[in-house]
Symmetry: C2
Subunit: 156 residues, 2 copies
DNA sequence: GTCAAATACTGAATAAAATTCTAATTATTA
DNA sequence: TAATAATTAGAATTTTATTCAGTATTTGAC
């Protein structure tokens, strides 16, 4: 099979594991009518090919006191430090997403902090320290109705 | 211990599992110097308390041909169907996030599709069918520099 | 189409891990 | 402080992961 092509079985594996990363190999094998050993090889291969990127645990953000979510629009000024500026921004643990979007040299940044005071502190103490970086707009999330990274897996 | 309070051990567990949902119970126990049986109960308790929401597999979106990411601003008109409108939107598998944001009755919606044609189809065939829902702006992501849901876990 | 090489799969054996349960320890609280 | 509840360890048991040799299947060259 080609390095990048996924057959029906692969897609079924991904579908099942996407929703439950801790499903046992035996259970997976049963569900797809395979021997556990064969299933194991499939999964290992998907990991090697980086089709499976990681297994992560979704933690209740509020349980950790992380009640504030915000989207911040930013502009990075062109220049020799462009890469470095991006790296500094990305390195902040409160920064969950950094998307380069169309229109100007702009970033859309998703930030999660405990509260608005922490966000303010972050913007004043961290963002402001990064050269050539300008926050242009901050949007506070009032309520999150849905938040997942589950992909639509084709049927084949 | 209180239903919601997390001690140092809990936080360590979350820290380790957040980055690797498939870490074995034995390995966790070793790392925190506990018996596997005790560790297992801790984890079960975190699951019951919904501090741990789920275990998910991060799949390479491009491997599944999902190359387009977009943020769509939307407005939902007030009315008796408000709840239903939200439910219909949320139910779409291409819709990964729905955030209610400050200012107007507005949603910020994150959408992932295979390409711009699919996005257009989604907007025309699905979004448009939902009553009282108006897309006000679509922002295409050119490049994603960082995308994680890892939370900042306090030290204690 | 045929054959050889590579790939994928099975089934059994073994190693490792998960799970259960009892007893003991520690923490809570009345 | 005593009684109660919660947590933990340790051993026994069940289940799962992993390995591996052999079989089947697919792939690609000719």
């Amino acid at each position: 099979m080609n390095t990048l092509e996924l057959d029906r079985t692969d897609l079924e594996i991904l579908r099942m594991m996407q929703g439950n990363a801790r499903i046992s190999n035996v259970e997976l094998a049963k569900a797809l009518n395979m021997a556990p050993s064969g299933m194991l090889e499939r999964v290992r291969k998907l990991e090697q090919k980086k089709v499976i990127e990681s297994y992560s645990t979704q933690i209740n953000a509020e349980a950790l006191g992380q009640k504030l979510l915000a989207f911040v629009s930013m502009r990075v000024l062109d220049g020799p430090d462009y890469q470095k500026t991006t790296a500094l921004l990305t390195a902040l643990p409160e920064v969950q997403e950094v998307h380069h979007i169309a229109g100007d040299d702009c970033y859309l940044v998703k930030v999660r902090t405990s509260d608005s005071a922490s966000l303010m502190a972050l913007m004043r103490n961290s963002f402001s320290q990064i050269p050539n970086l300008i926050s242009t707009r901050t949007t506070i999330v009032l309520q999150t109705v849905k938040e997942t990274r589950q992909l639509v897996i084709p049927e084949l």
